[in-house]
């Protein structure tokens, strides 16, 4: 392709072809052009450009300005926007959900475009805090277009969309982090800042894990509302299954419920969930147990035991790692021990999950399994180091022998050459 373009294929012909292609391809998107003729040149908020609108999923599916705003785009100038032509003008905020719902709640209609798309958004929206307040006449709350955009609306699967997993938290924060805007609602405005410090945010942005939770994962999207105190655990359990199962069987569940404490959040916080460390079980600033428990009671003893177990296994795994690192850096092949070391690390992770049962004997099982593996890999590392030393001793021995041979050769050469009165070197060849 490259080559025949460069080899003097008539440039003008290519240009002509390109123009024809663009015109034919663009014909469909050009349909609502009489609206855009003016609106492209107007100032915001009345401005809608062709560039924006051509990106809109609705425009791409063949909807026009008139689909939402009414009017007759085939007529010129103000005739197009006459009441007679059914022109509705700017849609009032409190009418937007119903307007979108005209199509999006109609299963039969939506099936023609995307049969797998849900059609319960409007119903859900009415259950959300946003929806309830809108009915009460509060137009400051979010309606469809605040999150999805308007005129250049992209599907959630498009990474440029405001509601794609990477962008949705920022979209929510546009209102929820604005202290001025949120005044009077009596809820905090630091959720976004807190979330940005959380391990979930890190998983999303640093590791690029789009499955990591963001605002709608816990709060819902169209039915957005804070999960109730009792349902927090159910929300977390969507991903953290084992932890939830163990917590369910533990004594903490009833205790937290009776004290109206929000389950997981008590220890892990909500928006700024940080990567838990073993120090949570300690007595320092990160420690959580001793906020409620008294020093020296049976729970404090269990806490200390579990912490000690985790510390022990963590130390054993790290010690084995160190030995293997030394062995590897001195050229020994320890890839098998490395593989086993992964299992020891798995045991440690498992033990940390088992903490949520708050039963020392269950934790102890995982710890012992891990310690056994770590002891084995540590021994394998030591064996590799011993083997390395054996090799070096063998090398020393053979180098010694080589030196003896060299010395012997040197003396022997001297001997035969002095013996023969330097005949060896001085004898003339010719």
């Amino acid at each position: 392709m490259d080559t025949w373009l460069n080899n003097g294929f008539p440039r003008s012909l290519i240009l002509l072809l390109t123009i024809v292609c663009v015109c034919v391809g663009g014909a469909r998107a050009q349909a609502p052009s009489t609206c855009l003729d003016c609106h492209a040149a107007l100032d915001p908020p009345l401005q809608v450009t062709q560039a924006q609108f051509s990106q809109d999923i609705h425009a791409q599916e063949g909807l026009t300005c008139a689909s939402c705003h009414g009017g007759d785009p085939t007529k010129a100038d103000m005739d197009a926007m006459s009441k007679a032509a059914g022109f509705r003008g700017k849609i009032q905020r409190n009418q937007i959900p119903e307007l979108c719902g005209r199509c999006h709640s109609d299963g039969a209609f939506m099936r023609k475009y995307n049969p797998s798309l849900r059609t319960d958004q409007l119903a859900q929206y009415k259950t959300s805090v946003h929806g309830k307040r809108l009915v009460q006449g509060d137009t400051k709350v979010a309606v469809c277009i605040d999150c999805h955009g308007v005129h250049d609306l992209r599907p959630a699967s498009d990474p440029r969309s405001q509601i794609s997993p990477l962008n949705v938290a920022k979209t929510c924060s546009r209102c929820h982090s604005d202290a001025e805007y949120m005044r009077g609602y009596g809820i905090p405005t630091d959720q976004y800042a807190n979330y940005n410090r959380s391990v979930h945010h890190e998983a999303m942005t640093v590791r690029g894990d789009l499955s990591a939770p963001t605002c709608p994962t816990c709060h819902g999207n169209h039915g957005a509302a804070p999960p109730g105190i009792d349902s927090v655990k159910n929300v977390c359990a969507n991903c953290h299954v084992f932890q939830a199962q163990m917590y369910d069987k533990s004594t903490h569940k009833a205790a937290f419920q009776s004290a109206s404490l929000p389950g997981c959040v008590v220890c892990h916080s909500n928006h700024d969930v940080s990567l838990p460390t073993d120090a949570k079980l300690g007595t320092g600033s990160e420690a959580v147990c001793m906020r409620c428990h008294k020093p020296g009671d049976i729970c404090d003893q269990a806490r200390a035991k579990m912490l000690q177990d985790l510390t022990q296994l963590d130390g054993a795994v790290k010690a084995a790692d160190r030995v293997l690192n030394v062995a590897e850096s001195s050229g020994m092949e320890v890839s098998e021990a490395r593989t086993e070391q992964d299992q020891a690390r798995d045991s440690l992770t498992k033990a940390r999950v088992t903490i949520h049962s708050f039963k020392t004997e269950l934790v102890e099982q995982d710890i012992q399994a891990g310690l056994k593996i770590a002891a084995k890999t540590q021994a394998e590392g030591q064996a590799a180091l011993a083997e390395r030393d054996r090799r070096r001793r063998g090398l020393g021995l053979s180098l010694g022998i080589i030196l003896v041979v060299l010395l012997g050769l040197l003396l022997y050469i001297r001997q035969i050459e002095s013996n023969s009165g330097k005949v060896g070197t001085a004898e003339l060849h010719r």
């Binding site: 894990d209 499955s211 969507n238 010395l407 012997g408 003396l411 001997q415 002095s418």
Partner: protein, 153 residues
């Protein structure tokens, strides 16, 4: 002192050099031969497998159960279906690398770490996993269940 008019080395010295050289040469040959002889002794384990491994015995698994086996440096999951047939997949979850397990009650493959689910063809069905699990080939050879990596087309 009068210089020795005949600078012949003393016989004792000559013998010493001979012993030194001869001994050294013998010693060095021994140090070459010894590793070679040891090298020739076949090790107890016949090989390290490669892209094929015996994952288990046919009488080991009951239908609708599974086990983890070692495949190279990574774990694999050998499943015996309810109808008695076998299936083998990579056991490393494609999300964060946890080890997946077979759930007989769901007849699906489950990762406990973040509730990821795969179907029996390794396809990521729900939860965070971004990619399917690698599926291996299973053959029965006598009593052995042999798992091998699929050949590149």
């Amino acid at each position: 002192m009068v210089a020795d008019p005949n600078p012949q080395p003393k016989p004792a010295r000559r013998r010493m050099i001979k012993i030194l050289l001869g001994g050294g040469l013998l010693g060095s040959f021994a140090s070459f031969i010894y590793p070679v002889l040891r090298y020739l002794v076949p090790p107890l384990v016949a090989d390290l497998g490669g892209d094929q491994v015996i994952a288990g015995k046919t009488d080991e698994l009951r239908p609708n159960t599974a086990k983890i086996f070692r495949f190279g440096s990574r774990p694999g999951l050998l499943i015996r279906n309810s109808d008695g047939s076998y299936r083998a997949l990579s056991a490393t979850c494609t999300h964060l690398g946890c080890i997946v397990q077979y759930r007989g009650d769901l007849q699906e493959i489950w990762c406990a770490c973040h509730n990821g689910l795969y179907d029996l063809n390794g396809r990521n069905v729900s939860g965070p996993p971004p990619r399917p699990l690698e599926v291996y080939e299973v053959h029965l050879r006598g009593d052995d269940v042999v798992v091998s990596r699929k050949r590149e087309a």
